[in-house]
């Protein structure tokens, strides 16, 4: 007899999580998760505006993992055929939806990411919008895969200030988690 998956399911349910993915993420896989998320919310008669907000946060946070997760197969700095690994979850608790994404990052990158995020966390809605607009005019599309705007976009769509956490794993890596609320 094997261990039951029920405990795991209940743990997720207690936190309000109704969709949780851990592992190698491809763009096509993300697209299907997005589709199924939209369908689920449509069936539960959510407003189109809420559906699109949650969907867009799922896409942005997952694309963040696809582009930037330091946990890859094969080992990092290799070919562009790398598969990136991370966790993404979507849930509903206390009348709000939330999207959480997590992935490994290099310790060297932690302070840079933390700086960007803490800045965004302290801004008002208006300030974030303004920042978004000025950054959009500055960033060159060739250098980044576009995620220069990514964090600002998620901070903008989140109805509460974004929450984030860095947990040191070893000499090289930390685990980065980001949470947005709708």
């Amino acid at each position: 007899m094997t261990e039951s998956l029920y405990t795991f399911k209940e743990n997720l349910a207690k936190k309000g999580v109704f969709l949780c993915f851990n592992g190698p993420i491809s763009h096509d896989l993300m697209v299907e998760m997005g589709d199924i998320l939209k369908l689920k919310m449509q069936l539960q008669e959510e407003s189109i505006s809420t559906i699109l907000k949650v969907f867009s946060l799922l896409i942005e946070q997952t694309q963040n993992i696809i582009f930037y997760s330091a946990e890859t197969i094969p080992e990092p700095e290799n070919t562009s055929n790398n598969i990136h690994l991370g966790i993404i979850s979507v849930g509903y608790l206390n009348n709000s939806y939330f999207v959480q994404g997590g992935n490994k990052v290099k310790n060297n990158d932690v302070s840079r990411i933390e700086k960007s995020l803490s800045k965004l966390q302290k801004m008002s809605k208006e300030e974030i919008k303004q920042f978004y607009r000025t950054q959009r005019k500055l960033i060159s599309p060739e250098t980044s895969k576009g995620a220069g705007l990514g964090f600002i976009e998620v901070a903008r769509k989140s109805s509460k200030p974004i929450e984030y956490h860095f947990k040191k794993i070893d000499d090289q890596f930390s685990f980065f988690s980001l949470k947005t609320t709708i």
């Binding site: 795991f8 109704f18 969709l19 851990n22 190698p24 491809s26 598969i83 966790i87 959480q100 947990k167």
Partner: protein, 182 residues
């Protein structure tokens, strides 16, 4: 934000689980999951036959969830169209890949399923093959969308007897977990 996402990742890593999905499952989603896992195993130089076995167990067990999970959202389209929820995980332990799937089921269906699984559990490969062929010849069962053969197929692909668990939740439902090892 706390480190709960990190701890979730850690618990997966500790158990050797490199892929896990909990939520509503669609055929298209399974296709993409299958693709990325094949890609990952190829990069890790698993043998072609192992990759195909894991892939087919993933598909069979996921399709079981789509067809039989009683945790679902009905759509308005037709009685046959429903969004089904379940859990599917793939891991690697002691030199073997394994697939574990879980879904909610009605207590009234347990006996029939358990009897079937108990019967399959004691058959060796040749007996399974014979059983599979005889079942396939039988008149098609209206209720089973093909999984009459499904469990036998699953047992044939696994390298050791199937492990399963029925955890009672309440008067009406239990949680069914099935583990296959390749």
């Amino acid at each position: 934000m706390d480190d709960s996402l990190f701890r979730l990742k850690q618990s997966f890593d500790e158990k050797g689980i490199f892929f896990s999905f909990s939520g509503p499952i669609s055929q298209d989603l399974i296709v993409e999951i299958g693709d990325i896992l094949k890609h990952k195993m190829k990069l890790e130089e698993a043998s072609k036959s192992t990759i195909l076995k894991v892939f087919s167990l993933l598909i069979e067990q996921s399709q079981n969830i789509i067809h039989y999970s009683v945790e679902k959202i009905p759509t308005q389209k037709s009685l046959n169209d429903e969004l089904h929820f379940g859990i599917i995980t793939v891991g690697f332990e002691d030199g073997h890949y394994y697939v574990i799937a879980g879904n909610l089921m009605d207590n009234k269906d347990i006996d029939r399923l358990e009897t079937k699984l108990n019967k399959i559990a004691v058959l060796d490969n040749d007996q399974l093959k014979a059983y599979y062929k005889s079942e396939r010849k039988k008149k098609s069962d209206q209720q089973s969308k093909g999984a009459g053969l499904g469990f036998i197929e699953i047992a044939r692909k696994a390298c050791q007897p199937l492990e399963y668990n029925f955890e009672k939740i309440d008067r009406d439902h239990s949680y069914f977990t099935l583990k296959t090892v390749i």
